[in-house]
Symmetry: C2
Subunit: 546 residues, 2 copies
């Protein structure tokens, strides 16, 4: 790697540069820096800007590698540090060269070697098979997410606790805000802000009011955010980053920034974070509650996110209840909705999937908790039920937990992170296990006719009874089996009884054998039944045996 010669003010960064360059000698592949596929290459160029490094300096780098070239934006990280980050997706040699309006940053070049991913590195999550997700290496990704909007803005100790908690769950995605959140349920004052402080004054109700220097980002804020995104990556969790939200209420004004600041913020954030493989962009939470922005603003901002991101991370936007954005637009890879309706009754979730031809995530269907607000007082059984209702139809439901204790000293996980106190999170982990044990994503077997049976492959079904309380089930499958071909006579099946609440899987002793088609369905040749435990929330896994 060839870099510009070190300049003044190198200080602590000098050591880092030397370390990353120490193995390199020009022309030697062996000695080059090695970066795993979908990991992050980073290089720092030194220049002390005479004016505003965020506003006045442009820096881009074009990376050329196997059969591909990508141009990324560099960013100013304060002091004399201009950084360029890159996530290589292809194995082989990569070279880059920079362009800048500052000679000291212009026409710099370097190279590195991208090597095969190892261990738990499966790459970015992308859309797969129209309505599903998979990592870049092909491994299926079934989103089983939770919500911890402001966890990175809490006290350090709580943040660490949140990571410990998440590591012990089955969640593989977390919805979280870049900006801090003002809310009657969140009391903690953030330690870092994305912009430099111009002036602190006494605001109303005893709170200080900060006047921001919107021309100057605070790199510490972003370094902290990045550290937390990396922390999530290490425990296998995708960071569904919410770029804008309405929960500001005049406290900081991040929801009412000028239009050019919004744009600059998006570009800066994406320049810093798009090389993080576990990042998803959620352009907004409850976009329609952000009164300062019009629909045109959201159009512009969401397109800007995508235009700024050379890797095309997953991107969506999230509204208030039943506010469906135009998710068919090209900038959105998937649907991220807030709506209870598709998962409270049968039929709705599958319909959404049929409509959009994109993956659908119900990123709010209400939350487990005990709040006075109706969106925050679902029983653990109810949210688990809704997660299964979604999963059966091939969409995905996100968890959230809002338990407020009497003395109000314990954190609400949904807002602040900390400890989970509920009883649904274990069931979400169990659901994820069931999904991952299947051969592929679920979809309704016989759309619009059988609302209980989903297929995940030839000879593989999940049947979910929801709130029905049955003592037996007559073996019966629809002849239509989603896209996997019709069920023939003489196929032998085993059945497992899944207690989705009790988290148990019990095999039925019987091996069933299909009849020929009888009025769109097949039955067991002897008309046999499965004994069920007369409880709600029972599912069946029906699998062909040889």
């Amino acid at each position: 790697m060839t870099l510009a010669p070190p300049r003044r003010d190198m200080k602590t960064h000098l050591l880092r540069i030397i370390l990353s360059a120490v193995l390199l000698t020009t022309g030697s592949m062996l000695a080059q820096q090695r970066v795993e596929q979908w990991d992050r290459f980073e290089t720092t160029l030194r220049y002390s800007p005479e004016r505003n490094g965020y506003l006045d300096v442009t820096l881009r780098a074009t990376f050329t590698g196997p059969d591909t070239a990508l141009t990324v934006s560099g960013f100013y990280d304060g002091g004399d540090a201009f950084r360029i980050r890159f996530m290589p997706e292809r194995i082989g040699s990569w070279h880059f060269s920079t362009s800048s309006n500052v000679p000291a940053l212009d026409k710099k070049h370097g190279s590195f070697e991208c090597i095969r991913a190892s261990g738990g590195n499966h790459g970015m999550v992308r859309v797969s098979d129209v309505t599903s997700f998979a990592y870049a290496d092909g491994k299926r990704f079934y989103p089983v997410g939770t919500t911890a909007y402001a966890w990175i803005h809490m006290k350090e100790e709580r943040q660490e606790r949140t990571l410990q908690t998440l590591a012990g769950t089955g969640f593989n995605k977390v919805r979280m805000c870049v900006f801090p959140k003002e809310y009657d349920l969140i009391k903690t004052r953030p330690e870092r802000y994305p912009f430099a402080v111009k002036e602190r004054t006494a605001g109303g109700s005893g709170r200080e009011k900060i006047i921001w220097d919107f021309d100057t980002f605070d790199p510490d804020f972003f370094r902290h955010l990045e550290r937390r995104v990396d922390d999530l990556r290490r425990i296998g969790i995708e960071a569904d980053l919410i770029l804008f939200h309405p929960y500001d209420k005049g406290r900081w004004g991040f929801d009412t920034m000028p239009r050019d600041v919004n744009r600059r913020y998006v570009q800066y954030l994406v320049a810093r974070l798009s090389s993080f493989r576990n990042v998803w962009w959620s352009v907004a939470n409850e976009w329609d509650y952000v009164k300062s922005k019009s629909h045109d603003d959201w159009e512009e901002l969401s397109k800007l996110v995508v235009a700024s991101d050379p890797y095309r991370h997953l991107c969506s936007i999230h509204g208030s209840t039943a506010r469906y954005y135009e998710y068919w637009e090209g900038q959105f890879t998937h649907v991220s909705i807030q709506d209870d309706a598709p998962v409270q009754y049968r039929g709705g979730a599958a319909t959404l999937r049929n409509v959009y031809h994109k993956p659908v995530i119900c990123d709010e269907v209400g939350y487990e908790g005990n709040l006075k607000y109706r969106w925050g007082r679902l029983s653990p059984e109810e949210i688990t039920y809704r997660a299964w209702m979604g999963a059966l139809a091939g969409i995905y439901v996100t968890h959230g937990e809002c338990y407020m204790s009497e003395n109000d000293t314990t954190a609400i996980f949904w807002a602040e992170g900390g400890d989970l106190k509920g009883r649904s999170w274990q069931r979400f982990a169990f659901l994820r296990r069931i999904l991952e044990e299947g051969p592929g994503p679920l979809s309704m077997s016989d759309i619009g006719r059988d609302y209980y049976t989903a297929s995940a492959g030839k000879g593989y079904y999940i049947i979910y009874f929801g709130k029905d309380t049955l003592d037996t089930w007559l073996f019966s499958l629809p002849v239509r089996n989603s896209g996997y071909g019709r069920v023939a006579a003489g196929i032998r099946f085993k059945v497992e009884i899944i207690d989705t609440w009790g988290m148990t899987i019990e095999p039925s002793p019987t091996v069933f054998e299909t009849t020929a088609e009888i009025d769109y369905r097949v039955y067991d040749t002897a008309g046999r039944r499965v004994q069920l435990p007369s409880k709600p929330y029972i599912a069946l896994r029906v699998t062909a045996v040889d």
Copy 2:
């Protein structure tokens, strides 16, 4: 009106021209032809084409009227007749002038006076208030449609009978195919075809096989179609014209015509029929079953329909079960889907409406009947239930009836028209009455929270219990009232009990008065209840008094 001087071969048309011109003197408004708003102006130009009048002659006319100018296509109607039709939408003087590649048709001009619509003429139906419909004069239109795919291809006597039947129902829309339909349930041989016959040969299974002259339309076919569309207009029914369908099975080949013939057919049909105010375009029925056409073909054809139609009639496309086309595309004014799922359970229909921001019509949710096919054996109760489930959520469900008698001599109305034998059609009329008695279109009062209550205005609710069988109902309304403002305390309401199956409306004797909000709802101050008849399919109409 000034026309080109009469030429040879005028024959019977001469009289018509003279009659339509007899009152006209240049410069006199009084003496001009008068056409009601949204009625049809027609003029005929005489020219005997030396080659193919359908292929080789272009004819357009630009109509200039109050603040507007529209260009329409003329069409060749056989013999020496080239016709131009125009539907004026604005009152006042209209002038036209023609352009043609044939001197005899070029630069002709004329004028007429558009007068205010009278009586039952409310104009074209258009989208209104995003998800609803209204006639051009502002009168609400609630689609309560039925299906009679091939009725215009049956024997004359049956066609007349169909019109008599329809006139005695409450239906205000009928889905019908331009092309004849080959189906094991339809035996009648059509008397007219849209193309001239080139050759008749003996086909397989004793049927004749016709080779078409795709370069030559048969104007008789289209005149007949037009007569039937006008017949429907006279009884207040919109003609939801299906341009393509897959029910051909090699008998005529209208589903596998060459691409240029498809285009020419669309343009010819639209040129002839777009001036009929009660026409809707349904680009296809079960488009995905037409194996000869790709998605790109449908894109092209649906855009061509719209580009050819200067009035922008309602336009959609209809697929097989749960095949949702990209209804968000600009050429589609509304969603015309085949899917049972949105109306079998609660939540789904409202979700569709929220998703599309366009009116939604479930143009097939299964049909009342006794067929062996599962789509054709709903009970009358079930299809009525589905219609109400849709209506409650602000979408519209289309009726169809498929009763086959033992000796197979009676027509299935859904295919052939004739007589209705079922018991749901009267309930559809009753539903239409309820909808029209309301102050506006229904939408869920408290979306995603209350799945039973819809609002149609301030102080106006419909509650539908569906299959629930209740003996009392505790007076209770959600505080949220769709877009009509929250319900206050102290509002007095009356309640009517609607038996949607029995078609009765009984007032409850009690006048209720609302409490203040209690956990998102209001109740009666004395906690009073409505006595219900312990039957399924009961609805309530809750109306504020004084």
